[in-house]
C-alpha cells in the first residue's frame, strides 16, 4: 500500500506506465469499465474544488467503482477537533482509496502517516497537486508524442504557481528539456526551484516577454498573473497585457506548439484562442480524468507496494505558518537528509535551519 503526495513519489518509469495505461484506456475503455467494481473512493475535500472532485469521481465511476463524496469536510468532525489521522483511520474502514484536498500545506502527509488505505493528494494548500501534473504530462504526451527534446515555456506567475514547480520537477527528469521562464520580475521562479534546475543540469532561460519567447516553444504553459501579487498596482497594469495570450500572439507560435493551462482561467487566455487547434487546455481536463483513472487503478490493485517514507528527525516548530503542523497539534518532523545544513519539513517541505529549534 502506498500514497501519492507529490509528483516525485512516482519515478519516471511509473509515470511512463501511467501514461501507457491512460492511453490504453482511450483505446479500450470497455476493458476498464468494471475493473474496480465493488471498490470505493472517498473524496475528502476540506476546501471546495468542484472541478478536481468531479474529475476524481468521474475517474472512479469509469473504472466501475463507486464514490463517497465529501465536498465539505470543513463542516465535519474536523470542526469538532478530530485529527486528520483519526479521520482517515475511520474512513479507511469505509473505502479503498482516498483523494484529499486541504488548505494547509502538508495535510496529505499527516493523513498518510495514519491511513490504512492509499491517500492521493488532490492539493494541499500551495504545496503539491500531483494529479494536475499527471494531467499536464499526459497532454504533452498525447499531443506532442514525446517527453524528450522539448522546449517548454512557462508563463505568468512562476513564483507562487505550484503547478509550474511540479511540472518542472516532473519534466527535468527527461532528456534535453529546455525551460523558458516567462514572467514579470515580481513573479519570477523562486531561487530554490532554479537551484533544482541547476542541480539537474537542465537548460533554462528567463525571458520577460511572451511575444519574444513564444516563437521557439513546443509547449506553452499559461498561468494567471493576479493583481493581488503586486505591491504596486501601476506596475501590474503596466505588465498584465504582456501575459495575456491572444490570437495575435498565437500567430507567432509554431504550428505544433500546444497551449496548456491548469484552469480555471479568468482572462489570461482570450476566448478567441479556444478555437485554435493548438489550444489543448480543455482536452487537458479530459487527460486529467484519464490519469486519475490510471493512478487510482494502480494504487487500489497494487497489493504489494511498499510506501517508502523518507527517514525523519524531530525538531522545533515549522517556520511555515501554513504548515498543517500549526493547524493540528502534530509532532514536527524533518527529513533526515540535510541540504546545505537546512532540513525540509516532512509535511510541507519548507527548508529551514533546525539548530535553533527544539
Amino acid at each position: 500500500m502506498r500514497h501519492v503526495l507529490d509528483i516525485t513519489d512516482l519515478n519516471v518509469k511509473e509515470v511512463d506506465e501511467l501514461v501507457a495505461t491512460a492511453e490504453d484506456i482511450v483505446r479500450n475503455p470497455a476493458k476498464y469499465a468494471h475493473i474496480l467494481a465493488g471498490k470505493k473512493l472517498a473524496t475528502l475535500f476540506y476546501e471546495p474544488s468542484t472541478r478536481t472532485r468531479m474529475s476524481f469521481e468521474a475517474a472512479m465511476l469509469e473504472l466501475g467503482g463507486s464514490v463517497i463524496s465529501c465536498a465539505d469536510m470543513s463542516r465535519s468532525s474536523a470542526a469538532k477537533g478530530e485529527t486528520l489521522g483519526d479521520t482517515v483511520r475511520v474512513v479507511g474502514n469505509y473505502v479503498d482509496v482516498i483523494a484529499m484536498r486541504h488548505p494547509y500545506e502538508g495535510a496529505a502527509y499527516a493523513a498518510a502517516l495514519k491511513s490504512p488505505v492509499p491517500v492521493i493528494n488532490a492539493g494541499d494548500g500551495g504545496h503539491c497537486h500531483p494529479t494536475q501534473t499527471l494531467a499536464d504530462l499526459l497532454t504533452i504526451h498525447r499531443e506532442v508524442g514525446r517527453f524528450d527534446n522539448l522546449t517548454v515555456g512557462l508563463c505568468g506567475d512562476l513564483k507562487y504557481g505550484r503547478t509550474v514547480h511540479s511540472l518542472i520537477n516532473a519534466m527535468l527528469r527527461y532528456k534535453n528539456v529546455k525551460f523558458v521562464l516567462i514572467s514579470p520580475d515580481e513573479l519570477k521562479l523562486p531561487s530554490y526551484v532554479l537551484e533544482t534546475l541547476d542541480k539537474a543540469h537542465a537548460k533554462y532561460e528567463e525571458i520577460p516577454d511572451l511575444e519574444k519567447a513564444i516563437v521557439d516553444l513546443d509547449v506553452l504553459y499559461m498561468t494567471r498573473v493576479q493583481k493581488e501579487r503586486f505591491d504596486d498596482e501601476s506596475e501590474y497594469n503596466r505588465v498584465k497585457d504582456c501575459y495575456v495570450l491572444t490570437a495575435e500572439k498565437m500567430k507567432l507560435a509554431k504550428k505544433e506548439c500546444i497551449v496548456l493551462h491548469p484552469l480555471p482561467r479568468v482572462n489570461e487566455i482570450a476566448e478567441e484562442v479556444d478555437d485554435d487547434p493548438r489550444a489543448a487546455y480543455f482536452r487537458q481536463t479530459l487527460n486529467g480524468k484519464l490519469m486519475r483513472m490510471a493512478l487510482i487503478l494502480k494504487l487500489v490493485t497494487e497489493k504489494d507496494a511498499v510506501y517508502r517514507r523518507e527517514e525523519t528527525v524531530s525538531g522545533g516548530k515549522c517556520v511555515n505558518k501554513k504548515c498543517i503542523t500549526h493547524f493540528e497539534k502534530l509532532a514536527p518532523l524533518y527529513k533526515a537528509e540535510a541540504e546545505n545544513g537546512m532540513h525540509k519539513c516532512a509535511y510541507c517541505e519548507t527548508l529551514q535551519k533546525l539548530a535553533d529549534k527544539k
Copy 2:
C-alpha cells in the same frame, strides 16, 4: 446532441413520446434498469434545490447510470471567476448529460452555447423549469387520461409563478383546453401570457374566487400566494384564505377533479386534503422522476439530434437585471424574429426594444 431549456424546446409529438416512455417505465421497469449503464449525469446546482436534484439523481440511477453530484456550485470555480461556458466545457469531459440549476435567468442558455453534452435546465431563476412542467403533464395524463378537452384551473400567484406560465405554454398546444385563472388582482396573469393565449385562440376566464371556479374544473393547479408579493398587508390578509384549498372547498369540486401543486407547499393546501384521493401532488413528484428518466434517456441516446438554435442578432445590454448576461460578461444576443418591433433576449427571453441599444 440537443438541450432542453424550455418546455417549448420539445414539440407536442416529443412530449407525447416522453409520456409514452414514462408510462412504459411504470409497466416495465426492468427493461430500463440498466439501459444507461456506464453513463453519467452531473447535477450542477448553483442554488440549493434538494427536491429537484434528488429527482434527477433518482432518475439517472433508475436507468442504471451514475451521478456526480454538485449541490453547491456557488462555492466552486464560479467563485474564482470562471464562466459557465468554461465550466460546462470541462464538465462535458466527465459526464454524458448535465442538469443545471442557477439563480440567474438565461443561465442554461449560456451553458448550452458551449456545452459538448446535453444540458437540461433544472430551473434558471424565475425563467424556466421545463421538467416541472413535464411532471405536471404526466400527472394529468396518468390521472385524467387525456390532454384534450380539459378545463384547467390555475390558482394563486399567476403573476410570478413560472410553473404556471410554462404549463399554459405546454397545454395550449392541445385541443379544446380551457384555462380558468384564479388569483387576487395583485397576482393576475401578466399581459404577455394573456397575449399568448389570445394568439393561440385558447379559451380562458379570469375568476378571483376559488369557491366559484372550482366547480367546473378537471384539473386544479395550486400555487402559493406569498405575503411579500403585496404592497399592502391588509389586502393580503383580506384575500389569503380565499386561495387556501380545504376539505370544505374540495366538496365543491367534481369527483374526478385532480389537484396539482409544484411543491413545496406551506399552507395553501390544508393537510386534511392530503387524504383525498383527488390530491395528486405527491404522486406528481413520482411522475417528475419518471419524466426525468424519459428525458435523460432521450437526450443521452439520441445520437443524431440537432439542436435548433434560433437565429440571433446582437444588441445592447438586456433590460432584465436578473439576466445571466449581467452576472457574467456575456455578449448580449437577441432572437432575430421581432414581435411588434420588440426582440426577446436570447438568454432570458425578456421582450425589449433594440433600437436605443448598441
Copy 3:
C-alpha cells in the same frame, strides 16, 4: 414496512439476528455484494455528520445499492417552510430507505409518521442514535464473544451522553450485565436512567475514579468530558485528567478488557493507547458499517413487517424546547401509557405531566 428510531424498536431476538447477519457479511462478503442492486438509500442530514453519513453510504454501496446524498438538508426546502412529513413523502418516491439526521429531538418520529419507506434515525438531537448502539453491540460481540455476564464500565459524561443511555438500554436486556458508572458528580447518570436500571433489576455501581474502576471491567466505554458542561472551570480542571485514558491506566485493566468510544475523540483517550490491541474504537467504526448493512438489508427486504406504533393521546405543548414539535407546528402527541402519572412525548420521549396542558 417499519422504522428504527430507537434501539428498543429492535427486540433482543432482532438485535441477535442483526449481529448474526453482520458476522456473516464478514465471512461471506460476496453473498451480499449485489443483494440490494437497484435499491436506493437517501441520507437526509439536517446537520453535518460526515462520519455517520459515510458509514451509511458505504453500507448501502457494499450491499450493491446506490445512494442519494443530502449532506446539507438545512439549506433545502425545509428552509422554505416545508414540513418533514411532506419531505419524506416526496423522498419516498425516489428511494427505498431513508437515513435521517436532525438537530431536533423527535424529528425521526415526525418523519416516520408520514414516510412511505423505512426511516432509520441517524441521530435526532440529544435523543437517540440507534445505529451507534448497534456498532457498540457488534464490537462487544466480535471482541468479547458474548453479551451476557459482562462488567461494562461507562466513563465520562454520563449525563448528556445519549450513546451511553442507549447502550445501557440495549445491554440491560441481557443476563448478568453489571454497569460501572464512572463520572464526575456534575455528569452522573440521570435519575430516570438509574430508575430504568432499578426496574430491570440490573446491577450497577457509581465510582468517580477511573483508575479504581478499570480493574474489573470487560468493556470500557469512554466518552468526552466537555468543559462547557461545568459551571465552575476550576472544578473542571480538578477532575478532567481523571477521565483521560492513558497507557498508564490501561496497565491496570484486564488483559481482555476492550476500549470503546463513539468517536470523534479529542483528548479523552491519549494517542499512545491507539496501538494497544485492546483499543477497539477504530474497529468499532468498521462494525458500525457492518451493522448498518445488516439493518438496511433487513428493512428494505422485510416486506411484511408492521411498524408497531404505540398508542398515543393528545395534549398541550411538550416541555422540551428542543422537541421537533416546537420547530415544526406539529400536533403534540403523548404515549398513552403513563408512568407515575407522567406521560412521554411521543416524539422526543420527555416525561411530563399532561394534566395542566390541553
